[in-house]
Symmetry: C2
Subunit: 353 residues, 2 copies
Amino acid sequence: MDIRITEVQVGKEKQDSSTLGFGLTFTDYMFMMDYTEGKGWQDAQILPYSPIALEPSAMVFHYGQAIFEGLKAYRTADGKIQLFRPEVNFARLNVSCERLSMPTVDIDFVIQALIKLLELEADWVPSAPHTSLYIRPFMIATEPIVGVRASLTYKFMIILSPSGPYYKEGINPVKIHVENHYVRAVKGGIGFAKAAGNYAAGIKPQMDAKEKGYAQVLWLDGVEKKYIEEVGTMNVFFKINGEIITPALNGSILAGVTRDSSIQLLKDMGLKVTERKISIHEVYEAFEQGLLEEAFGTGTAAVISPIGELEWDGHIMSINKGEIGPIVHELYETLTGIQNGEVEDKYNWIVKI
Amino acid sequence: MDIRITEVQVGKEKQDSSTLGFGLTFTDYMFMMDYTEGKGWQDAQILPYSPIALEPSAMVFHYGQAIFEGLKAYRTADGKIQLFRPEVNFARLNVSCERLSMPTVDIDFVIQALIKLLELEADWVPSAPHTSLYIRPFMIATEPIVGVRASLTYKFMIILSPSGPYYKEGINPVKIHVENHYVRAVKGGIGFAKAAGNYAAGIKPQMDAKEKGYAQVLWLDGVEKKYIEEVGTMNVFFKINGEIITPALNGSILAGVTRDSSIQLLKDMGLKVTERKISIHEVYEAFEQGLLEEAFGTGTAAVISPIGELEWDGHIMSINKGEIGPIVHELYETLTGIQNGEVEDKYNWIVKI
């Protein structure tokens, strides 16, 4: 499929890259294509970033067929631009599509489209430390009908946002509230999909936690409220008595790209990494025995986020005295180093533009 | 707040009301108002039904803050127009708002706005049997930022669709598949809210069931896959050995307006109605003993939908020989009679326009 390009007349002014927030502003161009049942994906185009017009009856507003991905383009020291494992993000997009009865995309084609978009927008990839061009591919149902079924038409888009660190504080350890009341997802639901509906369910608990001084919530499973699932919008890892433990993918946990990459890097750092069910009780017991050495979240937006304190039902677990632990530190340096080209990529994770 | 009106230049042509589908076409006007954090709801207006323009980064596309309601305006035999319990729908809208961290609306104001809209659109309320003007209020997050939190801006809209019966077959009994794999919602989630994300989770299971010849799925609880929750997009009732049983509201079931009205009407028909936990095993046992007398779904769109067959894990339960039972029939006649003005409204449910 050809990609039609409509040129921007006057580009936007670029912000000093050392002052960037996260996801607040967007670049000059966006990618868009449309799907119609029976005809497939059509009309691929790169056009000026601008509002889209949808019928008020468009299904995305009513029945929630909306999925997305998040990845980043990085500026290397020698001024080049590179992506980190984009094929894994688009493969996961297709997994989300299947669960929500939405049409999948051709992974090679959308990566080519993204690269074409990035070539046009190269100047927008920031260069200050801890900055990147955040890439947001997403798909929405557009058929203008009120009735619950899969839409017959969709829009797939990619928008770009030059971004600073996700947390203004940088990689400082955060305080996390273990959520005992609200549930993010349950097996048999859509928790493993990067679907809009999963996030909607988490906003109120997250806001309640913020009011109590916590940066995020740690989700427990929806069946027994016992097993650890994710933390906020990240996967979660614990170092207990020298071993790294992370919840196994079980149908209600998102298969994070940063999670997968972290497991690989931690193993190559010589650590034992185990993916299995882990209960909050086990974490608390380890804490009481002095064996809970480090804890951290992993996700594309924040990369690696150390956990300095866990609050569970009134129990406070202070981890590594609230400071960044040595493993978190090394993992962060290695992973961000590979992403921005300062550390050798032994894994073939980098796609150079 | 004043409601600004922008007049339509040329109205759309109206379809013969006996040939209407459900939710396929929309009237000439719609209601819209906008919310900004700190300023509240503003700029209430009735304007020509038309596409809305949103930033591609609008939060509704990414994080799923989207809720809706469904109710109907009915044409009475003497040509008047009336609503059925609109205040209950808008109260539930506010319950959905709270769960999804969205701003609530002033119930009196939005009912006034709806009435003003209906006065303008009176000619669109169809008169053929089993038709009505379906009313779809909905609210979406519009802030153009990529980052998971509650949006600071929203749109609330009401659109109208002249509609025939939800099932083309009318009130014929349907075959239902009991869903053992997929889960609609779980306690602690957003199942009790009329949120877009709940519907997204149900589309794939519904389509899978359709392929196997079933009209809808019956959802079991997400914890034990044992207790009955809802059927498709409706609440569900069973008549077992003379008693009417419906699952109690438990946090993962939608509090249906038709459910509530049906409970009242069934009680006034002299039946014992019990709201409690009921397992699929209990229903199957009743079937085996010949005590499963009737079963039906209740919802605004389909009103009352008799269940002729339940399929559970290979077991087939044929209910009342696949025919409409006497209780379902009487309930349907009474409820639709009140709604269209043919049966006296002893409950003060009707709002005349």
